[in-house]
């Protein structure tokens, strides 16, 4: 591990907050990310994920609280922080009028690498991200996926000990996404600390050692993927219905026999509810049939992060209703 990361904590935040006007985009944000681990910051659009990343990467000033990255305070000593981080933002941050290698060399120079080293690094990263064939092409002619990969390469130029990735796989095809995941795993094996935001629960499940779930700017839950699943689910019974109109009826029928409140996932035409040891599938099918629900699939499964996510963000919506 690198000397500058003390006590094994690569990213720390305490009471971090950011207010725009009257609106808190992020509030009471506490975080401790051990060096060499992956933290997944999970949440809907506008939950505060990007705000957190912008503060931790010195792009935005916090309104409250403080944070340190790689042992340096993000407000008091932004310069050493910038030397130790790599950032891939949501928006493309590469120059369309430069070649891929031109972009990486320029970034290497701005990290104050000697020209020769910057050139070698650029070639190495292009090779690693399967962009070597297109290294001399103008980036404006790149596909969205190639741009994303180049963006990631750009954040790796200085082999930074701490890496921030804001929705790194958005817009990538499944193959590129799997490659990126594999690459991130090698980086983490080499000791890199990664903080990534994502809207994809599968991504957090696959990559993150710990997850922080953000909802309306506040932390709604933290834990390992397994802990979150256990805390908010355990086993569940899932029912698929052929038409959206049957969702509510199916939820009602399921709740009568299941061990808790049912969640509706309208997009997937799916209703699920926690199951206990004594919940029997035959009873579920009977209840559904009595309610006139024409279920296309009924099965028992382990809770997924989707369930956790839905359960937590739903309950916060319910809490908000009376105040609005």
């Amino acid at each position: 591990m690198r000397a500058e990361i003390q006590d094994g904590i690569a990213i720390a935040a305490a009471g971090l907050g950011k207010r725009y006007g009257e609106q808190w985009a992020l509030r009471d944000f506490d975080l401790e990310v051990p060096a060499g681990s992956v933290l997944g910051l999970l949440g809907h659009n506008g939950a505060g994920k990007t705000t957190a990343i912008r503060i931790l990467t010195t792009l935005a000033q916090p309104t409250a609280g403080g944070a340190s990255v790689a042992g340096c305070d993000v407000v008091a000593e932004p310069a050493p922080v910038r030397e130790r981080i790599g950032l891939t933002s949501q928006a493309a941050t590469v120059d369309g009028l430069l070649s891929a290698s031109g972009n990486l060399e320029m970034i290497g120079r701005l990290y104050h690498l000697p020209r020769r080293v910057a050139r070698e690094r650029a070639a190495e990263l292009l090779e690693r991200l399967r962009l070597a064939d297109t290294g001399d092409k103008l980036v404006r002619d790149f596909s969205g996926g190639m741009r994303r990969r180049l963006d990631l390469a750009a954040s790796l130029v200085a082999a930074p000990p701490v890496l921030f990735l804001d929705e790194p796989t958005t817009g990538l095809d499944p193959e590129s996404r799997n490659e990126l995941w594999a690459l991130l795993r090698t980086l983490v094996d080499d000791g890199t600390t990664v903080l990534l935001t994502t809207q994809y629960l599968e991504e957090a499940d696959q990559l993150a050692d710990r997850i922080v779930l953000l909802d309306h700017g506040e932390i709604a839950a933290t834990g390992t993927p397994a802990q979150l699943k256990a805390r908010h689910g355990g086993e569940r019974i899932a029912v698929s219905v052929p038409a959206e109109a049957q969702l509510e009826v199916a939820a009602g029928a399921l709740e009568r026999v299941a061990a808790g409140a049912a969640e509706i996932d309208a997009e997937a035409a799916l209703v699920s509810a926690p199951a206990s040891e004594s919940t029997r599938l035959i009873e579920v099918v009977r209840a559904l049939d009595e309610a006139g629900v024409d279920a296309t699939d009924v099965h028992r499964r382990e809770a997924t992060l989707d369930d956790v996510f839905l359960a937590i963000t739903r309950s916060s919506e319910r809490k908000e209703v009376p105040t609005q």
Partner: protein, 279 residues
Amino acid sequence: MTATTLPRTAAGPARLRWLLADSATIAGRSFAHIRQIPEKLFDVTLQPLMFVLLFSFVFGEVIAVPGGGDYKEYLIGGILVQTLAFGMMGPGVSMATDLGEGILDRFRSLPMLRPAFLLGHLTAEFAASVLAVAIMVLTGLIVGWRTDSSPAEAIGGFALTALLAVTTLWLGTLIGVIARSPDVVQGIAFLVIFPLTFIATTFVPITGLPDGLRQFAEYNPVSAWAAGLRTLFGNPTATPADAAWPLAHPVLSSVLWCVAILAVVVPLTLHAYRRRTTG
């Protein structure tokens, strides 16, 4: 992956060295853009060439310079000012473009020194201005323009040209930083540059202007700059005997205008730039 040891944050001379190196890297980026889109240089290459030729051959024969002298000799001072004024669009457009895209987030997350972004931009744009001035001077020499002053005065003329270039580049940068998009920059620049350069001594002597316009022209900094350059190059100025103070003392008032504009525009630009780039 090879471990890359980063240089530690430094102070003093190393800081200055890095500021220069970072600015050079950013300027290099602008030059690389020009290699990709050579049309970017039209306004500082073909346009001045065209203006010198058009005005000297179309107006040259019909416009008499009051107090005597050749119109081509009179013209160059004005065209230099006009071209440098249009030169503010370069930094304006490139700054507005960069600020509208995500690339600035990338730069701001890097350990490059903060002022290097603006400095690099200005360096590249200044190089473009030097190219424009060189083209105009050469074209001028071909059509018959000559300096008729001491070498020291002529050098002073080029020094004033450089000061004026810096002034307009900062003005353009300010417009670029406050504009919402590159198109807005072009709009603002045209609205400002056209009236200012035409209601002035730029192309025609102001003696024939109606009341009101003539007073505007006499106090217009563009008139002072054109007359200042003409004076230093030893070209006819056609300044009326009863001209207002700025036009009667064109070299001094030119420098004062530049200093005054820079004194306002530089801090304003830095303030607006900081506001736009720190959230």
